[in-house]
Chain length 335, copies 2
Amino acid sequence: MKENPTWFLKSHPSGMPQTDNWDLRDMPIPDIEGDQLLVRTQWLSVDPYMRGRISPAKNYAAGLAPGDMMRGGGVGEVVSSNSPHFAPGDIVTSDHFGWQSYTVLPAQSATRVDDTDAPVQSCLSYLGMPGMTAYFSLLRSGAPKKGETVLISAASGAVGQIAGQIARIKGLDPVAIAGTDEKIAWCRELGYRTGINHRTTQDIVADVAEACPDGVDVFLDNTAGPAHDAAMLNLNVNGRVVVVGTIALADRFDEPDIGMRHLRQIMIKRACIQGFLLDDFEADYTTAKADLLSWYRQGLLKTREDVSEGIETVPEAFTRMLRGENFGKQLVRLD
Amino acid sequence: MKENPTWFLKSHPSGMPQTDNWDLRDMPIPDIEGDQLLVRTQWLSVDPYMRGRISPAKNYAAGLAPGDMMRGGGVGEVVSSNSPHFAPGDIVTSDHFGWQSYTVLPAQSATRVDDTDAPVQSCLSYLGMPGMTAYFSLLRSGAPKKGETVLISAASGAVGQIAGQIARIKGLDPVAIAGTDEKIAWCRELGYRTGINHRTTQDIVADVAEACPDGVDVFLDNTAGPAHDAAMLNLNVNGRVVVVGTIALADRFDEPDIGMRHLRQIMIKRACIQGFLLDDFEADYTTAKADLLSWYRQGLLKTREDVSEGIETVPEAFTRMLRGENFGKQLVRLD
C-alpha cells in the first residue's frame, strides 16, 4: 500500500519526452508548517508549458533538475490547514500541486473552488488557466474586429476549444487547425466555421487559403510548426499573430528551430507577431472568469475533457498530450 | 549627344542584382499632356525597397517587368508645366521620377522643394522618405521609453543615421550595427553609444550582449539576417522589433529565407515583431517633417551622403548600396 506516490523528474528529455524520464517513488505524507495546507489531490492538469519546465534551457523560469518533484495545476480537498482562510474539507486549486497524492501548498497559492457552478476540475480548464489564456490571447492580444477571420491551431485543445467559442460569441469567423477528422468535426460543433486536418493535408498553405478566402486577420498560434507558416503565408495586411504555445516543437525543444522566416511577409503585411503570457493579464482575471462562467451558464461554452485515471498515469497523460493524442483538455483524476 | 538617357529593366535579377540587369537607352524628351510636368532631373535616390520592385514576386505592389522603365524618388527643375500649381523653374520632388534625365510627372505626385532650409536633395534623405521612416519606425512602431536601449541595423545608412540621432534626441540609448569600422566610428559621432561591425565580428550574438548589457528593448531591423538573430537572442521582456527592411536578403530575394525561427523567444519575452510601411503614417507626415527640419536647424541632425555622378551610374549606385558599399544616403547627381 502506497502512502504518497510522487513523480520526480529522472532525466531531462532528449527530444520528445518519454514516460521513463520520470520516476514514481512512494513518499511519506508530509507535515505542514507555517502558512501551509495539506491537500489530497483529486485532479491534476498536464499542460504544454511543462515541456519548457523540464528542459535544461531557461524558459520563463529556471527549469527542473533531475531529482526534482514535478509540479503543476491541480484541485484537491484540504486535509489539514495552518491557515485561518482554509479548513479541512475545503476544495482548493493551485498551480503548485505536486504530481502526487498528497501535496503541501502555501496557503497564498490556493484558491477555494466553488463547485456549485461547474465541476471542480473546470478551474483547470475553461474557468482557469486555459480558458483565461484563450480569453486574453484572443480578445486582448489578438484585438479582433467583428467579422474578422481568426485561425486557431490546436483548435480542439484546452485553449483552442474555448478560443473558438469565444470567437463565435464575439461575432468573429473562427477556423480550426487540428490533428484528426474527429477533432475537426467537434470543432464545427463548437462553432468553428471549418477546419484543416494538419496531419492529412497535402498542402496546408493552400488549405488555409481555401478555408480563409478573405485571408487570416488573427492567428492564435498554439503550436508553431507548419501551421505557423500556413497562417503567415495567408496573413492579411495588419494581421496579428499571437504566439501562445509551441507544442509542435516538443520533440526538438532544445535545438534551434530552423525553418522559413517570414520577415519580408511581416514587413509587407505590417503584421504584428506578439508573444503571450497569461501572467501579464492578472489584474483582469476576475473579469475573465466572470465572463467565462456567464457564457458557461448560458450554455455557450461546450467543453471536452480527456481524463486519465490514477496517479501512475500522469507522465503518460502528459506525453500523449504532447503528441496530440488527447481529445479535449487533458486531465488526470486521482482515486 | 544624348537627348534623354533612360534606364529600363532588362531582366529580373537572379540573386544579387548586377548592373547588366538594366539597359540604358536614349529616348526623346517626352511631351506632356493633361495635368503633367516635364522635369529635368537633378538628383535620383536609390533605395532598398527597389529590390522588391524588380523581383518577379509580388511585394507591396506589382513589380516591374523586363522592358519597364525604372522609377524612384528624385528632385528636379520644372521645364514645362500643364498645372496651375507649378511653373518652369520650380524645384520639385516626387517618388515617380524615371531613372532618366527628363521625366514626366503627374502634377499631383510632385511637391515643391523649399531650398532655403536645406540642400534640395535633403528631401530624398533626412527630410523625406528615409528620415520619416526613421522617425515613425522608432517613435511610433518602436514606442520607446526614455533610457531604453535601441539597437539599429544598417545604422549608418539613410534610415539608420537619422534613427540613431532621433534616439539620442529622445533620451534613448542607441547601439549601432554596421559593416565597417569607419561606419561604426561615424555612428559614434552621430550619438550612438557604441557599435558592432557585423562583417568582422566572430560572434554577433555575444557582441550585441556585450554592447547592450541591459538587453535590447527596441530593435530597428533594417536588414534581416544575422543582425536579426542577434537582436532576438538579446531581447528584453516586452521587447519590440520593427521590421523596416530586409537588405541582407538582397542576394536571395526570391528564395525562402531559411534560418533560426524565434517563436519560443517571442513567446517567452512577450516580444512584438511589427512590420513597417511608411505610407501608413501619411496623416502625420507634416509633423514629422517639421520635427526633422527643426532638429536639423538646431544642428542636432548630422547627415552623410554618398553621391554618385551621372545618369549612367544609377544601376551601379543601386547595386553597391545593396552590397552595403555606400557610406551614408546613396544618391545620384545628374549633370
